[in-house]
């Protein structure tokens, strides 16, 4: 057991996980954040993707103790935002995915949402092929991916529309 302190979804959390406990299991079992799903335990399927210090990582390949002192965002920590988000607790990307019928069974969903959140943050103008490549490390068995890609493209487009409007309202102190 090791005592750790980390930031999860904007709050300071402490815990005493066994050294061998994965970050995914720590989030799910110790912090009750069951939105992070475990799909393969060997880093291939991407269902367990969370954002660690701004980067998408596989929480099944990382030990909880390695996350000590760091900032973790899980699907539960995505805030509703923007003109196209805000309903039903959804952010812009989630809303675009809802509008695009992106998912079916929903098990892979948190991983895709987190991966796409991190990717769009770094590549707001990505095209379809770039998005496909960025999401090719996440496996979905239900959809054939097209609806997921469409959701990410729609979110990127909505973000661009908002961004283009922003200079008008930027005159804040």
């Amino acid at each position: 057991m090791a005592d750790i302190t980390l930031r999860v979804n904007g709050a300071t959390r402490t815990g005493s996980p066994e050294a061998r406990k994965t970050l995914a299991d720590f989030l799910r079992d110790d912090l009750n954040l069951t939105g992070t799903h475990v799909g393969c335990e060997h880093g291939v399927c991407g269902a367990c993707t969370v954002i660690l210090d701004g980067r998408a990582v596989r929480s099944c390949l990382m030990l909880a103790v390695q996350a000590a002192g760091r900032e973790v965002t899980t699907i539960e920590g995505l805030a509703p935002d923007g003109e196209h988000g805000g309903h039903e607790g959804l952010g812009t990307l989630q809303q675009a995915m809802w509008d695009s019928h992106s998912f079916q069974c929903g098990f892979c969903t948190p991983g895709f949402v987190m991966q796409a959140t991190a990717f769009l943050g770094d590549h707001p103008d990505a095209d379809e092929q770039q998005i496909r490549e960025a999401l090719s490390g996440n496996i979905c068995r239900c959809t054939g991916y097209q609806s997921i890609i469409d959701g990410v493209l729609l979110a990127a487009q909505r973000n661009r529309t908002l961004r283009n409007r922003e200079p008008l309202s930027e005159e804040r102190p």
């Binding site: 939105g35 393969c40 309903h87 039903e88 809802w98 019928h101 929903g106 959809t143 054939g144």
Partner: protein, 800 residues
């Protein structure tokens, strides 16, 4: 929820009511269930494919702190009831029935066979315990091939059978097979293999079993396609009365046929919970899922085709062998469906069909999306091989053979009428959408530059539910039931035995009921996943669109009639003059008379109803499928085969599909695309691979390759809705078609791409290495580049 404005919900791509929870991590899957005092299970599994179990020593594991119990095969046998596989028993299986225990006792029969279960305070501790269980095995020769299994000299896996025959050989003939073959212009022979691959839902199997000794009630939180089938399976094996078993299910992370009933492991976990008196959770890891959850296909076919010189497919004579794996599953039963479906939409005059099932030391055969799909693969492959021999276009040969749409409808030689089948229309539509002459020109130009493009077409029909039969309900699984109730909040609640695991029933059934009853979409609630509350049902077999969509429609109609009867007393009007729209009951022509349905329900519940008014605003509806009908369609793929690397890229994919009236087009298209993706994966990537020694070689996602966003192209879908058969219910199932027809579509395209080399393809799995082998075998010496010579492009240059 924000109100959805639509004239009519049915037919519109209404956004799914499942999505807000799924998109925010608020879904509740079985691994999210936590109960007070809950323990965790892990299984000790066999490293051998076939061995006698000499001894199991669990003493060290039992002594490990944190381990609560270790149960061996013998322990489990003593606390459960022997019997057949519950699902096979429910489906009326009468053939060879192996006797098996939940955990291995006398011997292990596949790599991963569970031998003992360790129950501990955490999964980590349970796995620690597994490491300490000592099992002594005595090797037996593994039976890894159906042909070996069927040899009377092979060691029987199950002592009570004495051989390895899962399905006794049978032969049936439809039409005059001998005369059809005797009179044919030509008779062609083929051997076609379909490889072993598997469901791989992103969430594996799992359950939390919680036995309450006081009440004697077992509560199972399950990932299942049917809470009732799971209930029956648990009750059978644990020797319990069914009413003492309650099965609950929340969100389910996919299944594709895998999660029907209860697996041996899940039954063992239930027994363990009863034994230790605490809740026990088991969620399989990916290694367990790939190794032992179940696999499908692995069928071989000797095919003789009687053919006319004009391309007419006159008759087929097929000998099928299915490798059913070790423990009983669906494998022994699929040949019956394949036999019935083999003629497809074509006017075959004769069919001979033989089948045998073999038991081997591999994972059990389970249902996988379109379990009978190999009949379409065989037929659509054979048609292409014939077309090649006769120099016919792949669309043309199909148009020549498709049964014409007549009244009364043409009848498949195996017996079912082809009512409302639109195969011809879908073929013609694909030919319009894909400009074949332009493709042929592009193909020729590409070949001149050493690039190999190919085009493939395949057609299918799916009995979803199937045509009405004189004997009973359409479709193979009987009537569908639903209970509907109007609550005092004005909510129309549908209780269904469907157990959605991605199919969006909470949305689609609400669309239908909202339209029929006359309330906003948000005022309909769909209740699933509690065996004490919902009627019997099962999500599978592409059944829900017609059967459950139909019972939702008729049930909402019956409930509405009941509500109007009561409201008629209340409003002192004739029920015939009353309408329900937008959640209000009103007298025709008098909008001011409107009262909310919630008010009607409150008055009914108050007990102050007029004499003679039935105040129980609830109905139990059933539906027999109405006139039923077929789903079907034609798919077309264009592929680009790199003959240097063997890599196949699917460049374009077009699907013309007919599933009757669409409930929710976005949901329908999601089903079609998902099935196609699995079909592309089956051909290009996925294989459940065993070594000759019985070792399992694809137990991780590094070995069992799943299609990704870079492997599946944008899929173009065209809907045909040509032939309504029923007065009300013309929705047809669309869950399985993509997976049924995509494999032959893609293989046909690959063969077309490789036609300059004279390649003929008689198998389904075509990863890069196999593509290179096929080219090398068909055109020895022509292709010396690639890996062998190392020089890019040299093979083509030398050939020319």
């Amino acid at each position: 929820m924000t109100a959805i404005a639509a004239e009519r919900y049915t037919g519109a791509s209404i956004k799914r009511s499942e999505d807000p929870r799924i998109l925010t991590g608020a879904g509740r899957y079985v691994d999210d269930v936590k109960l007070p005092g809950m323990l965790h299970a892990a299984f000790v599994r066999s490293p051998m494919a076939h061995a006698r179990v000499l001894s199991v020593d669990a003493s060290a594991a039992r002594a490990l702190p944190g381990v609560v119990a270790v149960l061996t095969g013998a322990d489990l046998e003593a606390m459960t009831v022997p019997g057949p596989d519950a699902l096979m028993a429910l489906m009326g299986w009468k053939g060879p029935t192996p006797q098996f225990t939940l955990l291995a006792t006398d011997k292990v029969r596949l790599v991963g066979d569970p031998v003992a279960v360790v129950i501990a305070g955490s999964r980590y501790l349970a796995e620690d315990g597994c490491e300490l269980v000592e099992v002594d095995y005595d090797d037996l020769p593994p039976v890894m091939d159906a042909a070996v299994a069927l040899d009377p000299g092979s060691p029987p896996l199950f002592a009570n059978l004495g051989d390895n025959i899962a399905r006794t050989h049978s032969r049936h003939e439809f039409g005059d097979v001998a005369a059809t073959f005797a009179n044919a212009d030509r008779v062609l022979d083929f051997h076609i293999d379909v490889h072993r691959h598997q469901n791989v839902p992103m969430e594996g199997r799992g359950c939390v079993a919680s036995y309450d000794a006081g009440s004697g009630v077992m509560t199972m939180y399950a990932a299942t396609q049917s809470v009732h089938v799971t209930r029956i399976a648990v009750a059978m094996r644990l020797g319990m009365e069914q009413d003492k078993v309650r099965v609950l299910a929340g969100d389910i992370g996919g299944s594709f046929g895998l999660k029907i009933g209860a697996s041996r492991e899940e039954l063992a976990v239930a027994a363990a919970s009863r034994q230790v008196g605490r809740p026990v959770k088991w969620v399989e890891d990916r290694g367990e899922n790939l190794t032992v959850s179940g696999q499908a296909r692995e069928e071989s076919f000797d095919v003789r085709a009687a053919v006319g010189d004009d391309g007419a497919l006159l008759g087929l004579d097929v000998k099928m062998v299915v490798d059913t794996g070790s423990y009983p599953g669906m494998g022994a039963m699929v040949p019956d469906i394949m036999e019935a479906m083999l003629p497809g939409p074509y006017k075959l005059a004769a069919l001979g069909f033989e089948s045998t099932g073999a038991i081997t030391n591999k994972a059990s055969y389970v249902a996988y999306r379109g379990p009978w799909a190999s009949e379409t693969f065989v037929r659509e492959r054979v048609l292409n091989l014939i077309a090649k021999d006769l120099g016919l276009d792949p669309v043309e040969i199909r148009l020549r053979n498709v049964a014409p749409r007549t009244d009364p409808p043409a009848v498949m030689i195996t017996g079912r009428p082809l009512a409302g089948v639109t195969s011809r229309e879908s073929l013609e539509r694909v030919a319009q959408l894909v400009d074949f002459p332009a493709f042929r020109q592009r193909q020729a130009e590409a070949r001149a530059h050493g690039r190999y493009l190919g085009i493939g077409v395949a057609t299918f029909i799916e009995a979803a539910p199937g045509p009405r039969s004189p004997e009973g309900p359409s479709g193979p699984m009987g009537m569908e039931s639903m209970r509907l109730r109007l609550t005092e909040d004005g909510i129309v609640v549908l209780f269904t035995g469907q157990m959605p695991h991605g199919q969006s029933h909470q949305t689609t059934l609400a669309q239908i009921a909202a339209d029929e009853f006359g309330v906003p979409f948000e005022q309909v609630r769909v209740v699933v996943g509690d065996s004490d509350v919902v009627p019997f049902g099962l999500t599978g077999g592409s059944r829900s669109a017609t059967m459950t969509g139909g019972v939702a429609l008729h049930g909402a109609r019956q409930l509405k009639a009941k509500v109007l009867d009561f409201a008629a007393h209340l409003m002192e009007a004739s029920a015939q003059d009353l309408l329900i729209t937008d959640g209000n009951v009103w007298v025709r022509g008098d909008p001011a008379s409107a009262i909310a349905v919630s008010e009607v329900a409150r008055r009914a519940a108050s007990g102050q109803s007029e004499a003679g008014a039935d105040a129980r605003l609830e109905v139990e509806a059933t539906f027999d499928g109405g006139e039923g009908g077929w789903s079907g369609g034609t798919h077309c793929a264009i592929v680009d085969v790199d003959i240097e690397t063997g890599i196949v890229k699917v460049e374009r994919y077009v699907a013309a599909e007919d599933c009757g009236a669409l409930i929710n087009p976005a949901v329908v298209e999601g089903q079609i695309r998902g099935g196609i993706a699995q079909g592309i994966g089956a051909v290009l990537l996925e294989r459940s691979a065993y070594g000759e020694d019985g070792s399992f070689q694809s137990a991780t996602f590094m070995d069992y390759l799943m299609p990704t966003a870079c492997d599946v192209p944008r899929i173009e879908i065209e809907h045909l809705e040509t032939v309504p058969l029923d007065a009300d219910v013309n929705f047809r199932g669309v869950g399985e078609g993509g997976m049924i027809v995509a494999p032959p579509t893609v293989v046909n395209a690959i063969e077309d791409a490789l036609s300059p080399f004279g390649v003929r393809i008689y198998e389904q799995h075509l990863p890069p290495a196999r593509i290179l082998e096929l080219i090398a075998a068909a055109a020895p010496g022509q292709l010396t580049g690639g890996f062998a010579a190392g020089g890019r492009g040299t093979g083509v240059a030398r050939r020319r």
